[in-house]
Amino acid sequence: MDNANTRFDPDLIHAIFKLVWSRTALEREKNEGADPLECEVGAATSKKNRPTSANANALKLSCELLRVFVIEAVERAATIAEAEGVNKIEATHLERILPQLLLDF
C-alpha cells in the first residue's frame, strides 16, 4: 500500500532539477562567452537562454519514475537473493542486476 513516506517529495525533486539546470546554464554561458561571435546574435539567443522549468505534472511524473527506479532495483536484487536462498540483499545481488537496470531505464 502506497503512503506519503514511500514517495519522493516533488519540491525536493524540483530543487535537484533546478540545481542541475543552473549548472548547465552557467556552463552554456561560459561556452558562449568564450566565443564572441555567439554573443552577436543578441535577441535571438535570449529565448534560448530562458531558464528551464517544469510544471506540476512533470514533477509528479519524475517522482514516480524515480520511485519505480528504486523499487525495481530492490525487487530485482531481491529476486537474485531469493534464488540463492538468502533473505538479505547484499552488494553482489545488486551488482548482478545493475547493468540491465541501467539499460532498461
Binding site: 548547465t24 528504486v70 540483499i89 545488486l94
Partner: protein, 108 residues
Amino acid sequence: MEEARSELEREEDEEATELLRDRFRLSTISIVEAQAKKSDMEISEPIVACISDLAFKYTAHRNKHLASSLRSFCNDLKAKEIPSERKRKKASRKEDKASTSVVHIPDL
C-alpha cells in the same frame, strides 16, 4: 578576486548538493525499506546508500540529458519553421487577443 568568488560559489554549490543528496537519501531509505519489508527481505545499509546515490545521479544525469535533447529539438523546429509561417502565427495570436476585447453591441 574573481577566482575567490568562483571558489566561494563552488563551495556553496557543493553544500547545496550535499544537502539535497541527504534529503534524497532519507526519502530513498523509506522507499527501499518499505519495499524490502513487502518482499519479506532484509537489506544491508551500504546497499541502501548505494541505491540512493545511484538514483540521485540518475536524476541529475537524466534531467541534463533530457533538457539538452528538448532544447536541441526545439531549436531544430524553430530553424525549420518558415519565416512567413512565424508571421502568420503571430498575426493570428494578435487577432485572438483583439477579438476577446471586442464589445458586442446588440441591435435595438
